[in-house]
Symmetry: C2
Subunit: 592 residues, 2 copies
């Protein structure tokens, strides 16, 4: 039922996030609008016609584990093959290894479509692409030539192995051991949990990137190394050979994304018969510097999880809108037809639908802008590069946390619009809420994102980078004001006020951090991230409206300003005035 909103996505890329200007300036070589449109159109067709129809069987059947092997839902293996044959896995891959070297923006836009069609399908390649990036940046030439081409094409898939039962948000606590074997390889021993696509039947080999600790490593995060551990060791000719000592011992029964196998992986427990226990691994980057390597892929993955939030929100909106136009109940003054009115005519339903639409487009604009910054950092040099890198770093927590919160909220509103039908699994509205609920959790909970924003991103550029960005958003508000058009209502005024709030709160937090009042700053982190995102989202919707003056875009940015941006004042109060009450009240929460 998902129809990829190809035109909307193209518009957001080009006119909101900056692709058009960059292409016009020749930043991406001969990439032009025609090619962009062609890629998006074909991806949209594939997502709508080939991925989406397999959503339901994925949700209902799920991935199944038997004797250490995971079978994917019926039709999914073929789907994955078609998808890689279409070249969709290699869009952003390095050209040296068979990739198409297209901008991250294109990867992100198409990824939105796969995830709209099925989050459980989209998440596998997402992590695999992260593995490509980590290997490309940090692995030895030998490892690259052995693995990268196959990971880029999608012939093999990669995974990220971070979490252990005692080490989730806090990786300092991880215990998986790595021992030097003397021949340059390592042996890995330990248990990893929550490993997405840790085992499946999509590909002939699976390449695990695993965080582990060497015997002589310092304690904490400075003693963690990153290893490549293939499911099958490679033969001389590079084909998969002997089974490595890494096995899936269980998959989780989850609220949603049922077709995505979430695996417990056991390393070096001696399951691979005929060899000494120990999973054979190769070091990526330097010993004890594994976390830095992993962060390469984690940052990227955070944006991509944000895209999942946008994606599921888009599908939920489409589904709710279709239902609201079809379902008839009661009378409505704006409906002059016969019989009961389609519920889309009821003002309360309209408010919900517009909230869904506006939040989805705001989240998309933020995420795409983050992708644009990544692209610009890649092609720039010197001060420009640093600027764009800072920008990508600043926007990543917004793209991850705001978009995934939007995913849950919009999916929940979608259930509500369906009324009683929304609670029936067959309808499919509730499945989107079930899927969406993981995205605020994985790849760093949204609380962690907010803390990252406040403690690591506000200090960027000596604390000035953030104000440069706010200044750019301010330019949009000024441009709206200059239109002097009634159609925008109070948009400019409200946006200006919200930007003022954002600025003063940012200074407030920077001062708290400077004064060592870290706990107060941390207590305000989540409301701050939301405030920041609402302002950025509102400004981007206005930029979209200014770009082509389309009446629908203008009315949507006005709706956002006049209905959703008002929240920023409350968020400001919460940050500046609410944190001292928090400390007092929190005492009652703590057990003896």
């Amino acid at each position: 039922m998902y129809r990829a909103p190809v035109e909307e996505i193209a518009f957001a890329l080009k006119h909101v996030a900056g692709l058009k200007a960059a292409m016009d300036a020749g930043t991406f070589g001969d990439l032009g609008e025609d090619l962009v449109d062609a890629i998006l159109g074909e991806a949209g067709r594939f997502a709508s016609e080939e991925v989406a129809p397999l959503y339901k069987v994925g949700d209902r059947t799920g991935a199944k584990l038997r004797d250490g092997a995971v079978t994917m839902p019926p039709g999914w293996k073929e789907l994955y093959r078609h998808w890689t044959e279409g070249g969709w896995n290699s869009l952003n891959g390095p050209e040296e290894y068979g990739g198409q070297g297209l901008p991250t923006m294109m990867g992100v836009a198409t990824l939105e479509m796969w995830n709209s069609a099925s989050m459980a399908f989209g998440i596998g390649p997402t992590l695999s692409m992260g593995a490509v990036e980590a290997l490309e940046k940090h692995a030895s030439e030998d490892l690259k030539s052995a693995y990268l081409a196959k990971l880029v094409s999608g012939e093999w898939m990669g995974t990220m192995n971070l979490t252990e039962p005692q080490a989730g948000s806090d990786l300092a606590a991880l215990r998986t051991r790595a021992e030097r074997s003397g021949d340059g390889t390592y042996r890995i021993y330990g248990q990893k949990i929550f490993i997405t696509y840790g085992e499946h039947d999509f590909t002939d080999n699976i390449v695990h990137l695993v965080l582990a600790r060497l015997p002589d490593a310092p304690a904490g995060t400075r003693g963690i190394s990153l290893f490549l551990v293939p499911k099958f060791l490679l033969n001389e000719d590079g084909t998969p050979g002997a089974r490595n000592d890494v096995f899936c011992s269980g998959i989780e029964e989850k609220l949603g994304i049922h077709a995505s196998p979430t695996c417990t992986m056991i390393y070096g427990d001696g399951f691979a018969k005929g060899r000494e226990p120990g999973a054979v691994g190769w070091l990526i980057g330097e010993e004890n510097r594994g976390l830095a390597c992993m962060f390469t892929m984690m940052n990227n993955a955070r944006l991509l999880v944000g895209i999942q939030g946008v994606a599921v929100a888009e599908t939920a909106f489409q589904k709710a809108l279709a239902y609201a136009n079809e379902r008839r109940q009661g009378k409505a003054s704006s409906y002059s037809g016969e019989g009961m009115a389609p519920i889309v005519h009821h003002p309360d339903v309209q408010r919900n639908l517009l909230t869904m639409k506006a939040l989805t487009q705001a989240a998309r604009a933020i995420a795409y802008s983050c992708a644009h910054a990544i692209d610009m950092a890649r092609v720039s040099a010197g001060a420009d590069k640093a600027h764009w890198q800072d920008r990508a770093n600043l926007l990543t927590p917004l793209a991850k946390a705001f978009s995934t919160d939007v995913g849950v909220d919009v999916a929940s509103l979608g259930v509500q619009i369906h009324g009683g039908m929304g609670f029936i699994e067959e309808t499919g509205a509730s499945a989107l809420l079930r899927d969406a609920r993981i995205a605020p959790i994985y790849e760093g909970t949204n609380g962690i994102q907010a803390i990252d924003l406040v403690t690591r991103k506000l200090p960027l550029g000596n604390g000035e980078h953030v104000f440069g960005y706010v200044g750019e958003l301010d330019g949009i508000a000024i441009a709206v004001a200059a239109m002097n058009s009634e159609a925008y209502g109070r948009t400019a005024l409200i946006l200006e006020q919200a930007l003022d709030d954002l600025q003063s709160v940012t200074r407030h937090l920077q001062k708290q951090l400077g004064d060592g009042r870290t706990d107060d700053a941390l207590a305000g982190a989540t409301p701050y991230l939301r405030l920041f995102s609402l302002v950025a989202g509102g400004a981007y919707l206005a930029r979209a409206a200014l770009a082509d003056g389309d009446e629908r875009r203008i009315s949507l940015c006005r709706f956002f300003a006049e209905n959703l941006l008002g929240e920023t004042a409350a968020l400001k109060d919460r940050i500046t005035g609410g944190t001292s009450s928090l400390a007092a009240a929190a005492k009652a929460l703590i057990s003896a």
Copy 2:
């Protein structure tokens, strides 16, 4: 894992919602604190020790339909029997029919506990109690004497049959037919959907209350009659005899409350062999006046569904709090122990937990206050009775919609606090979210509640009743100000401001309605209901704090004021300034 918060519930009943003052005034005869505490204590024990342990099997196994018969999950039939033997079903029942005639407040408080332990269990008796009320008020003496005693004891259960595929929120569209049979009974023909506990094995008989239309009935809601249709017709001696022509043809596979059978009921399709098709029914009240009779039980049911929201929020809070005290990750400045800090020490987690706690207690206070108004209306006469009836009517949509929104939001925050574990079904956090999600939908969606509040409740008492209530809340704010205590922080100031907002917005909506700008008023209905509820909830938390001066209550009401009440300004803007943009933007939503 649920532990009934017996003391908190008792405190909210007595000191926030008004039970203590009413008992002291002798309003409820010899009901005193000792009896209240004893009942709550025993209910808490039963809920925690007998209902809660059967939650998981209910969720995992669910209710099963086979050959028209529904089997409840293992152990549930015995649970229901123990529960009725404990007298819990008859708490509020009329004494004339074996009930205990206790105040609604006591029924509501215990109902919270059953629903905290299992919403799927709690919802069945909820509807049965609604049936008791409708019969008591509207049925003939013959029907009462045949059915009421058994429904009050719980030996039989009752259901509400309203919804049909084309008639959900809009009952005017219902088509189920009723024909006069000539002997004073009627024959019912039609299909009803979403019938909660429409079929099960708890009881030997099930008493369906069914809305249907007589052949000569006027169109619309003025042509609907209410009928009693028992599953088994009664023998001369009152015992269940011949099978009536009403059968369950299907049960829904739902997102949550899996153990609650949601039935499609077929009336009069000739399944009962050996008789002419047609389900035998008896008229309740007058012909064509069925909707008024049904509203008796619907109003009651709306409050009780609100209680479900409170209930699941309470359980989600308890679960998240326990997890946050147990799970250790990272360092926290407020934690001086060894190793990683329990995550309850992290300010961002504290914010989430306090938000959960404060919203839960606010919702509880509103719902209990509504129950108190119902009780006062029952025992009062004349102007007092009208006053309390108006009060109950005013608070019902708040109690239903705000509490159930809180249920979903708090359950979702609970999932978030559990991190990755929250997404794993075994943990149980996600199940609470799945359960909670129905409550904003059934018994009138929360959008319908908001419309009810604006269009039917604001006009009460010539539009003055609402201001009387706001004045009472204002008295609380004044009392806080008079404390002149630093511990309350800015509570009084913020509460006053929020009350001003509430007042001005109320006048604004009344004026819109008066001017015939109904659509604008409807567009603001949902934000208005939330604004109203936040103010009431904030005031009630302050009343609780004032009642005993407990430090924890003071800090919680302050947290609510300084962190959650700021939203009212944004809601006010949305209502007064946001609705014109809504109409403009909504055009794009409507299909050709």
